[in-house]
Symmetry: C2
Subunit: 265 residues, 2 copies
């Protein structure tokens, strides 16, 4: 599963690349049928929404589900990651963000890498994300909006008095808001523009660790469940973790991609 | 400005009709240039958002602005309203909902007529709305979502313990949520489907007083300012107002549409 020269150029230019139906219906059905086992885990690995008991983010499902362990090493994600980042990768994070019907709350404008630098000590922004839709994503259920090409700016430091609340049972950013002032967000979006990829379950959005993104609450009747991989170069491993291990993984050995049919074995 | 047979049929079928660029750029420029005078009014006629001092809804601007007084009688709105409702109309409400960039909060799923029946004593759902875009409406700035054909259900009574908070300086519904349970909303939307008209400034969405609708917060850098007329049949005037007059107008005399160029005189 190698990307074409054209795909690599588009990713480099935009910091975002959408691939429709990268996983097939059978694979998505299997992943969805295992999901309840992941979501019923007790404790802080399943972060809840601020205003309800809906799961917001199920962290490190590969530690408790063999199917999600196999998914975490899937060649359709890991091989392009190695290609884009130029060498072996390990996973800095692996998680499922559910954005449930009615209850899924806002994700303020943010770069993932800013947190990974400040909280985890990741040396360089040589890291990407892949986001697999387990549900159809439409204009109605809170698609992720990306600021096109914003990864070219590198890490954008917080420009307001933004302090993380070390409260991992509920997601802190949601309470605090964006690390950026409205003026910064306006300037970046008006300069670069927004896109919000939408499509059937099984589609994947790859995006750079510095691509600014966010999403509105989900007030529709339809869940918008997405699996996130964060492949990082093995030579870029974090040096100063301050968070629990499930939020900043510490197995820095190179992921060996499994076979293409690893989910249906 | 009479609607075609086809337009009337579409409105009757869907409870929603979108007309692109019903007002031209010059008219929109004039309305936008007068807007700051409307938004700087003091007191409860300008409702604020819950979490900021952004204006959420500027009520009854025709009482303080001659331009908006003329807009309230515009033939491109009033004549179709007379045609749809089958006779003379007066305005039950007239307002500007700004849904400001960054600050514009959610409007939960609701029917306008449920409030107008319960709070104002409007006898029948023989009433429509017209919503004029003063800004371009895109997928990013919180377009109104409508449940197609839901007006055919008539008034849908609240199905949870929903009590209005008589707090008109901040909008009460926002704090309370929808008058409907998630199960009711799911059932209606899954049966009828959603649409969210988007388009350039100057476009108008007409929708029935019983059409269920709502919109997500606006986290984009772009305002989404919309003027709302609520034309009601003169023989359907409210009988038991409980709210201030600016929220439930009490001039029940028939609106005489002005000339087509009334904004540019």
């Amino acid at each position: 599963m190698q990307w074409t020269e054209e795909q690599l150029k588009e990713f480099d230019r935009n910091g975002v690349l959408y691939v429709e139906r990268l996983f097939n219906e059978m694979e998505i059905a299997v992943l969805n049928s295992e999901l309840p086992n992941v979501l019923r885990r007790e404790g802080p690995v399943n972060l809840k929404e601020r205003k309800s008991d809906s799961i917001r983010s199920a962290i490190a499902p590969h530690n408790s589900s063999d199917l999600y362990r196999r998914l975490s090493k899937h060649p359709r994600i890991i091989e392009p990651a190695i290609q884009i980042l130029g060498g072996p990768v390990y996973l800095h994070q692996f998680k499922v963000n559910t954005k449930n019907a009615h209850d899924g709350e806002i994700w303020h404008w943010h770069q993932d890498y800013r947190t990974w630098f400040e909280d985890d000590g990741m040396p360089k922004p040589n890291v990407i994300n892949a986001a697999l839709f387990l549900d159809e994503v439409t204009e109605f259920n809170g698609p992720i909006m990306f600021v096109v090409g914003s990864h070219k700016l590198g890490m954008i430091p917080s420009d307001k008095n933004f302090q993380r609340i070390p409260e991992y049972g509920r997601l802190a950013e949601d309470a605090i808001g964006s690390p950026y002032t409205n003026e910064t967000i306006d300037r970046l979006i008006n300069k670069h523009g927004l896109i919000a990829p939408k499509g059937p379950a099984g589609s994947v959005v790859f995006f750079h660790g510095c691509t600014l993104h966010g999403s509105v609450p989900n007030m529709s009747p339809w869940n918008r469940t997405v699996v996130f991989w964060s492949p990082n170069r093995t030579n870029n491993a974090i040096t100063a973790p301050t968070r629990p291990e499930y939020l900043a993984l510490q197995d820095f050995s190179a992921v060996e991609p499994l076979a293409d049919d690893c989910l249906l074995d």
